[in-house]
Subunit: 338 residues, 2 copies
DNA sequence: TTGTATGCGTTATCAT
DNA sequence: ATGATAACGCATACAA
């Protein structure tokens, strides 16, 4: 090993050691046709020995493409950003792309600053990760690279947004409850200000309507995305309508609280009341008693989809509108047939 | 607005419009001394109008520094990586640094691959984010840039690691319980294979020893990091030793389960049994009944500390060893005095 | 004070 | 088949 650790190993160095010009070395390494097999092997050997890695900055400067995308999040601390981000990172990594992460923390000024930085770094594209399912303002100012909105939908139909299909997911849950023979289904969910809450309620109501059934309790119990609200709403609901035989909760967290309350009230789950949640958040869904049936948003796949659309856009396939990503029903004991 | 959106705005373009050479334009923008005030204002005005941003690739190529650090995570999906990552991102953002995110997903091959990519991209430094508190193997191979290990500790004392002080955090919790007059304190925690579990137990035992008190139940109840284990262990513990007056749980998740079990057993919290958790994980700590006293790891600050150490290293201040980051006691109703 | 020239590491073009 | 050279965008040493 004659490698001196302090000297950065460049193509020039490889060429020198292989006894060829940089041009030839470059061709050899990039599998260009016009280079003698013997020369090629020699260059490759030297490159391998020095563990040569071409300088991505130089490459990017020349090609105009940095093979980097910016991932701009509103609020990374939230629960939904991470799986999406994971899916994005994974899908892009396969395409030899790297991810520059920027968290705006809900601050518009910081967001603009981040966008400037990302563009200065010559990102090839941008993925904007919403912290909520809601429609959000499109990025102001003309961004010279493709942008894909993930999880949160852009208000500009000229943009491409990849979002979760909450209406469809709720339909899955509702149809599951109906299939179990439940007929007096109530809905406890989070803040009405969230599109996620409204969409899920809409999906449930659509299925109930089609079946000619009313919603138990009259209207959805909108509240907070917390166990506390799940407990409280359940008590109120069962006091008002003791005949409820199923609860569709807007999140697993709420459902966890609901199950606790049912337990306190002496109702058996699922025998007396079936409970289904939403999100497939493991720490709630698998740890409740009994474990929770729920709808998995498949956020990681959603992120991968967004990444793939961005890559397609980079290759010229511009696409606009909203791509809705279906959820997946996960059945556990809280809706076991019986 | 005479800006054509398709033409990338370069320094050459700015210089041309300002009627000066690129050299002068560069000096004007970089606040070099020898440039006429009048010329400077003119250049600045043009740059502003075109919203010129210097190409970071070119700059990096020239300076040898990309002002980018690689953030290498083992497992982003876990609960602890995110806050640390957030702190890192924030602290680096203030220093005009960007973060290249790579998740190895616990795969050594993928990790090496990511390191190669990051080095090819000329990152100035690396932050290695552990998914557990445990000691982990130092990055193999000589990395030509500074590396800081965060959350997970490197096994090489020549590396710099920034980790949470679990022993100290546990001491805080234990001393709090003692100060409330509790004397029969039991410990329910996660898998013994986790250093976090062992360290927290050690901190508690140290405090009890110093006070001449035994651990209720004889030894820590090691199990799983779940509500389920919290419930089960609590039932077992109270059956064996009904006189327990305080539970120190190794995580909020466990504590949440413990409180549920105490509730089922008819024990009042905190009157009969005080409960304290660990992590300050909001969804458990604030949603349990009653809300949970706990120890906050302050992971975001830990991440910021790691970032600052990396920046210091980039400026030449090499430092090695282990920096232990203190936790913070958060008192809520589950240990209210009374 | 301003402009010209050079170089960072790489790839592409054009001679040889 | 190989090599010299230009170019990417910027910053700087040096010349004017």
């Amino acid at each position: 090993m004659t490698r001196r650790p302090s000297a950065p190993v460049t193509l020039t160095e490889v060429a020198r050691r292989a006894g060829v010009s940089v041009a030839t070395a470059s061709k050899a390494l990039n599998a260009r046709p016009d280079v003698a097999p013997q020369t090629r092997t020699r260059v490759l050997a030297v490159a391998e020995e020095l563990s040569f890695q071409p300088n991505a900055l130089a490459r990017g400067l020349l090609s105009g493409s940095s093979r980097t995308v910016g991932l701009l999040t509103d609020e990374l601390a939230g629960r939904f950003a991470i799986p999406v981000l994971l899916g994005v990172e994974n899908a892009l990594g396969d395409g030899e792309m790297s991810v520059l992460l920027c968290d705006a923390r809900g601050d518009a000024v910081r967001r603009r600053q981040h966008i400037r930085t990302l563009l200065a770094r010559q990102v090839d594209g941008l993925i904007v990760l919403g912290d909520r399912n809601d429609v959000r303002a499109s990025l102001a100012g003309d961004i010279p690279v493709p942008v894909v909105y993930a999880y949160g939908q852009s208000d500009d139909p000229g943009d491409l947004s990849v979002v979760a299909d909450d209406v469809g997911g709720a339909r899955l849950a509702a149809e599951h409850l109906l299939a179990l023979g439940r007929r007096r289904i109530a809905h406890i969910t989070g803040e009405e200000g969230y599109r996620a809450a409204r969409d899920r309620a809409a999906g449930l109501l659509a299925v109930l309507d089609a079946a000619g059934l009313p919603l138990a309790g009259g209207r959805p119990s909108y509240g907070a995305w917390s166990q506390r609200w799940g407990r409280q709403a359940t008590r109120m609901l069962l006091a008002a309508d003791p005949g409820v035989d199923a609860l569709f909760c807007g999140s697993d967290q709420i459902a966890y609280g609901a199950i606790d309350a049912l337990h306190d009230l002496g109702r058996r789950v699922p025998d007396d009341v079936a409970v289904i949640g939403y999100d497939n958040w493991e720490i709630f869904a698998t740890e409740s008693r009994p474990p929770l049936s729920t709808v998995d948003l498949d956020l990681e796949r959603l992120g991968a989809t967004a990444a793939r659309h961005l890559i397609a856009a980079l290759e010229g396939e511009r696409r606009t509108g909203v791509v809705r990503h279906p959820g997946r029903l996960v059945v556990r004991d809280s809706t076991a047939p019986g």
